[in-house]
């Protein structure tokens, strides 16, 4: 039996029906029982978690809106005193020297971190198969991927090893695994949530977002982690009030569907579930119509040029000098190259290569700068489509969970898994994946709702009306 929602756990503790220690112990027991088969966690913080839970139980009043709630944190996010790997060998046995802002805010709200979750190396992947710690496995079928890159967080939430988790979403890394595992996952508007303490992949795209079993839980987590942070100059927007929007009616709201993006490459089962969820929205009084996103067919190309260019720069810091693994050499140039070659996995090398190419003399104009310009057109399309509409609906992923090994040999095929999630990322918009039933094979399918910039509350409101 699933241990319940974050709000349920918090409320049970508040009325003394449960203690933080019992809630955390239950989560740790479930991890011990389930995780050997699923590989959702890279590190488990049992002692740290129990110590914190006991301290919370001693408190005379609730610490905050997540008092005593276990939470799992993707291992791209720093927790002071806990090993931080980003799913890579290159960080060696690095222990974080500081807390990410999102971690400090969760803990101030009373949440208890039970462990760090598995992910594709440096969040570069859509399946967790690029983790140096081995892939996570889908809860319904161990031969399939849970999606990625925040696959460990999605698995942890799906099987109740933690009621809530944090992931990071650059091109869909929260939304896609949430969809494949049948949980809720959201990407906030770029600039809502601090990136301080999130290991940088592509800085103009990276955002931390929540995973949960209910939209209400995800909204609460976003409200706790969002808000300006002097340590991240791009994180300037006021805190969100997504929880307050939960339960407000949706009658008369308008949702657009870019039908031209659904003409090819979407599995029939996914399409059927998508149409059914549109009908469900219509029954709630939402007006559904068709919109055009003319430049979105270029979103994958633009994303993989911009994100890899930024990654090639961000990952220059892994040089074997200041932290992490080091392969010794007689010259500094050899030390850099040997450390990086031994420390990075194939996908990270591939992306560094692609990004370096896109930024290199003779190609930067045709690839990186051109991609930036097309990114702007993609973003303008969304702004136009969202004028007079509250959200745009698409399936989160064109297929259900695919088999481990199925796409790993063909990087371009893997990249195409992100066809619907990269657009909102490039446009910086709030976007949520909410379960919309299962395909014929029993595997979950997710609906993606993308809203206007800064109107994060609206996507939660619509998703809640449909799901919770």
């Amino acid at each position: 039996m699933h241990p319940g929602t974050a709000i349920g756990i918090r409320d049970a503790i508040a009325r003394s029906a449960l203690t933080a220690e019992r809630a955390v112990t239950a989560a740790l027991e479930r991890i011990a029982r389930e995780d050997p088969a699923l590989n959702a966690f890279i590190s488990i913080c049992a002692e740290r978690a129990l110590t914190r839970a006991r301290a919370l139980d001693q408190a005379s009043a609730p610490t905050g809106p997540l008092h005593g709630v276990p939470v799992a944190i993707k291992d791209t996010i720093a927790v002071r005193g806990v090993r931080l790997t980003a799913g890579s060998r290159v960080l060696g046995d690095y222990v974080a020297a500081y807390d990410a802002t999102v971690v400090a805010r969760l803990e101030s709200a009373g949440a208890v971190i039970v462990g760090k979750t598995n992910c594709d190396e440096f969040a570069m992947g859509s399946s967790t198969e690029h983790s140096a710690f081995g892939p996570s496995r889908h809860p319904r079928d161990p031969g399939r991927t849970p999606g990625g890159s925040s696959g460990g967080s999605a698995v942890a939430v799906a099987v109740g090893m933690a009621p809530i988790a944090l992931g990071s979403d650059t091109g869909g890394s929260v939304r896609q695994p949430a969809a494949l595992c049948g949980v809720v996952g959201a990407r906030p508007t770029y600039g809502r949530v601090s990136r301080y303490g999130l290991i940088a992949f592509a800085s103009s795209l990276d955002q931390v977002g929540p995973l949960a079993t209910t939209v209400a839980d995800a909204a609460l987590v976003q409200d706790v982690i969002a808000g300006p942070d002097p340590k991240d100059a791009t994180c300037v927007a006021a805190a969100t009030a997504c929880s307050a929007a939960i339960g407000q009616g949706v009658r008369g709201l308008r949702v657009g569907v870019p039908r031209h993006l659904l003409e090819a490459g979407v599995a029939p089962d996914v399409l059927a579930a998508f149409e059914a969820s549109l009908e469900a929205l219509a029954r709630l009084g939402v007006e559904i119509d068709t919109v055009e996103l003319p430049h979105s067919r270029h979103a994958i190309a633009v994303y993989y040029l911009v994100a890899t260019a930024e990654a090639s720069s961000n990952l220059a810091r892994y040089d074997g000098v200041r932290y992490g693994a080091c392969v010794e050499a007689d010259s500094i140039a050899d030390l850099y190259a040997r450390t990086r070659s031994a420390g990075f996995g194939a996908e990270v090398k591939r992306r560094i290569m692609l990004g370096t190419y896109a930024l290199s003399a003779g190609y930067a104009e045709a690839f990186y700068l051109k991609a930036q310009a097309v990114r702007r057109l993609i973003q303008q399309d969304f702004v136009r489509a969202l004028a007079g509409r509250q959200a745009i609906a698409l399936p989160t992923s064109p297929t259900t969970a695919f088999r481990l090994g199925e796409r790993v040999a063909d990087p371009l095929q893997m990249y195409l898994s992100d066809v619907f999630t990269v657009g909102p990322s490039l446009a910086g918009l709030p976007s949520i994946s909410v379960p919309m039933g299962t395909a014929a094979d029993g595997l979950p399918v997710g609906l993606q709702l993308t809203g206007r910039a800064w109107d994060d509350a609206m996507v939660y409101r619509l998703a809640h009306a449909l799901h919770d």
Binding site: A97, A301, V321, L354, S360
Partner: protein, 98 residues
């Protein structure tokens, strides 16, 4: 089948990126990067002439903060995470550069 990237070009990019690639990696990446770049080349056909050249990609506002000194990370702890450091003197160690 998309054209492979020339082997010398892959090696040049690897050198820029400070990566020592094996022969096998060079061969694999020549094919895969060729595929990806051929796919990505479709963006060349998009008319972007109406965009101002310095336009940023999203509308996230940039902000400034005051330049006020504040507590930073503990030096010994930071140096303690380095593969090779002389913590007492306060520096990282690297192979001889000059």
């Amino acid at each position: 089948m998309a054209p492979k990237l020339p082997r010398e070009e892959v090696a040049h990019i690897a050198a820029l990126a400070r990566l020592d690639l094996t022969e096998q990696e060079l061969e694999t990446f020549a094919g895969q990067l060729g595929d990806i770049l051929t796919f990505a080349s479709a963006i060349q056909q998009v008319d972007t002439s109406r965009l101002p050249p310095d336009e940023t990609a999203t509308e996230a506002p940039a902000t400034w903060r005051d330049d006020r000194p504040a507590a930073s990370l503990d030096r010994d702890e930071v140096l303690g995470a380095a593969p090779d450091a002389r913590a007492a003197d306060g520096y990282f160690r690297v192979p001889k550069v000059l």
